[in-house]
Assembly symmetry: C5
Homo-oligomer: 264 residues x 5
């Protein structure tokens, strides 16, 4: 198949052009992914049906434009890509963008939507949140603190899940100590899954219609399911006015894989 | 009608090509359908209106591609097909996919969506769940356990119904014994229908916006209706925050029948 | 106008071809419309905008196909047609199909959707229910039973209204006697309208997202409105978790009238 | 601009043709607008995007067809037109139709939708209600009755607002006297606005998913806003299960103005 | 790139033509933005996918028409423009229009929608509100009144957020003093953010489905997030029946920037 070869070549060239300043970015990438005060955006898109009316060649050209764009923004943004197609209805692709400013994220996403590829994307869900220092952990017992420091299995996971949450007014009306006690119960229930399910929290009150975005990575979806099942009986769960809606489920994929799928 | 003959021929050829390794797969199929720890996906699609603008010949070519694809994936997936068209609004076709890993299911569904047929499918509902060992049955009285072992009438049923369920926070806050007692009352109400309505449960907390997917097969929809009616007065039903929405109703059909309908 | 004449001629020919076995079907039609254990489907459709891009001639050919199809199925189905256009937003046409099996209804509706006319229909609402013997009437006082046997004014009514209902869990948790007493109060409030508003009940738990489909026919919409207003103060109404959504309002029309409207 | 002149000419000709029997209709118009037992329909439409692909000339021809149609129906219907475009999202035009029978309204709206103009209209909201004699006013104190007879400022108002309302079951369960007392409190709060805001009530239980359609006309939207604000603290407001959703806001416009806007 | 140069030139010419009477308008602009009794409309639009099928030249012509239109209306309206694309799903552009009469706003928006640019806009959210004198501030302690007079950092901010709010019936049933006390607690919680987050309130009861539109401008989204988080534990928040849905997040941008983005 000539066209697949052509895609791969185009993507490889784009990759090489961008690769020169790859090392320099490593530290900032680390900072964006681990420090508080960073904005995380989850942007899910659906491919419109007109895309498939393009010729194979036109699609190859369209996707190669994206690759270059992502490279170009990677000096100030960390951009992760996910394939939702086949696992989430109404969404095909998701980008997670970490940035020091949402205006940078906007610049990237508007540029993306302006590409020949992006003009066929329909934005289905945008969620924005802010990373913060853990609010309740300082009050937890020492043993729990230590348990939480386990870094989990290394390497890239297969699956990612995004569950946005909105708390009820009663939750926010509780004093900090009471909420701390409830979060300790929550954390206790979650501890057995700390190795198999990576978890990251974004605070989103005011930035979208939720209070939190909970993001999960795992190789073992059954373990992830057990984690959620373990959290449902906990008292804090009663304060979730909305949990999911949408629940976004996908696989973590290099951008090349995703683009190739749509170029084929 | 030449075109119908052509479809049948095309489908038959595809079938023959795939049939050689049919026997080998039988045991794994059985395992996927009966063991715990298996992922079940319900993927419902609507055919877009552009499909009908294709020529009859183009549609025949398009559907024959699907047949081959399903065969190709059947060494690791069990794929059942349902015709929802004419019974469920907003959905025409449904696939139930059993897999050891959702990444395999994703690979199949993205491949399906990439076919000439699939490019006209709009994903309307994806539900994912996990099979598990029965949680409450071990605590049931012996007599009930025995009654539950009745395997029901053999053979393929006519109708399939999918009802996803979300429990309220109160349900999960109950202790295991209390829930067990409530589920015993539920099971008692369901027992009279054990022969006429086959039932399968998938656990989906975290994998979609529900806690359970309940799947039913029956030849007698009035019996199925009576079953649901018998379950509504039971105390456990008060804890269903969401029951249905969507309720998916269709007939169990060989893929050939469904494809022929859309090729015609 | 030549085209209108052409439509009428085409429809008349179709009618004549189908008319020969009309008498034979009368008894089964009566049975389907009056006996318990019959499935009733309400299928509402919207005409897509592309329809109007067809030439007048193409539209005439398309609608004549429908007429023949309905005739063909009328040996086992009772199919009533309604014009919702101009009275219900998002729906133009509705069919009520009575059948001994929903698989027959499905066969008819998929055939309908496969016609040149049907390819332009968008399914907006499907509701399914089952007719049953009256559940509470046997416990009513003799006088009320007699009052209920009044058959109402004869002949075809002008308007039809469909209101689906979902009961809350509290309703189903009540014992049969308590529900009987509440339904007696309900029936008492409805009695004054028994002559002017025909009413038919379908049980739909499990077959769609409702528990009941209530269907009304009347020549006097103000009387129908008064009936509903009379039922709202009744205690049983407090158990309606959902009432309407959708409420479907239309006029009862011979299929010919409806088809002519879309062929014009 | 030739085209605007052409539109105006076309509309004027249509107007003249219809004007001959204008006087004769005045009394019936008055009756339809003031008597009880009349059906009021609010039909809101969105113009599809394809409309703008028509040539200017085609649009002029299309709108002139509407003008004639409205004239033709004005012997039995009172048809008012509103421009929602620019004030309500998802709706561009609204018609209020008063009729002695909804079947007449349906005939007009289906005819409208069948015109070259109407084929581009998407029905977004239909609301139906019935005018009735005031239910609670007879029990009000004399002084209030007199205050209610003030007819308000004469002449056409600028703005119209439609707010549909659904009451909760508790409201209907109250006895007539209690509801009368609550409505007296409601009316007392509304009295200061009787001159600046015209109000008309339609009863819609059973005819759509609401119990009432409240219709307002005013030149002073701030006064209208103050009226609504004055009604929110009243006890009766607690029984509004749904208030608005949709709230339709527009300007009262001669049909010519609206058609010209779409012909331009 | 010739086309970008052409856009800039076209926009500059439009700007110059409009600039002559710029000074004269300054005072009215100030009045519209600061006085009570002014109507504020938030109109969010999505660009349809057909837009991108236009040639570059056609897009340049289309956007230049908009620039002239905005100038033309700026003698009686204050029109601010926002880029939502890349930050809000389902909306690309937002206009905030301040006017003495909503009929003027309607005239502007219908004119906008009538341009070659506007014909590709889909109206996704319209919110209308009225500015009023502060209702509770007169009853606040002197110290708080003074703190509220801080005018914040000067100059244009980067981000704007719109959060519409609907209060519950209980809120409106509280007497003015109780509401005043609750708003004092609310204001106390908000005070620390008075410098970093500019805030403006619009009253919208009756004009749309909300009671208030809260509008925010900030350079520091983390401060804005902290403000919202500080307001959630306050008792008044319990009376928010709806908060957001939609939450509109974007950047404040000169119209030229936005038009250039869509012309490119």
């Amino acid at each position: 198949m000539n066209i697949v070869a052509l895609i791969r070549l185009a993507l490889m060239v784009a990759l090489c052009l961008g690769a020169t300043n790859g090392t320099a970015r490593a530290t900032d990438r680390e900072a964006l992914l681990t420090q508080p005060g960073v904005y995380g955006t989850f942007a899910a898109f659906q491919m419109d049906h007109d895309w498939w009316d393009l010729t194979g060649e036109a699609r190859v050209i369209a996707v190669s434009e994206v690759k270059g764009l992502v490279e170009q923004f990677s000096h100030k943004l960390v951009i992760d890509s996910y394939l939702l197609r086949g696992l989430s209805d109404h969404a095909d692709v998701m980008f997670r963008v970490h940035a020091h400013a949402l205006s940078d994220t906007q610049q990237f996403l508007t540029s993306l939507l302006g590409t020949r590829f992006g003009r066929h994307l329909v934005a289905t869900n945008y969620l924005h949140g802010l990373t913060k220092k853990a609010a309740y952990v300082p009050g937890f017992p020492e043993q729990m603190k230590q348990a939480l420091q386990v870094s989990g299995e290394a390497g890239t996971k297969v699956y990612a899940i995004v569950i946005p949450i909105r708390k009820d007014a009663d939750w926010w009306a509780l004093d900090q100590d009471t909420r701390g006690a409830l979060m300790q119960e929550h954390t206790q229930a979650a501890l057995p899954y700390i190795n198999s399910v990576k978890r990251k929290l974004y605070h989103s009150s005011g930035l979208d219609d939720f209070d939190f975005i909970t993001y999960f990575e795992t190789d073992k979806l059954d373990e992830f399911h057990s984690l959620i099942r373990a959290l449902e009986p906990v008292k804090e769960y009663r304060h979730d006015r909305r949990f999911g809606h949408p629940t976004l489920l996908g696989t973590i994929r290099p951008l090349d894989d995703i683009l190739e799928l749509f170029a084929r």
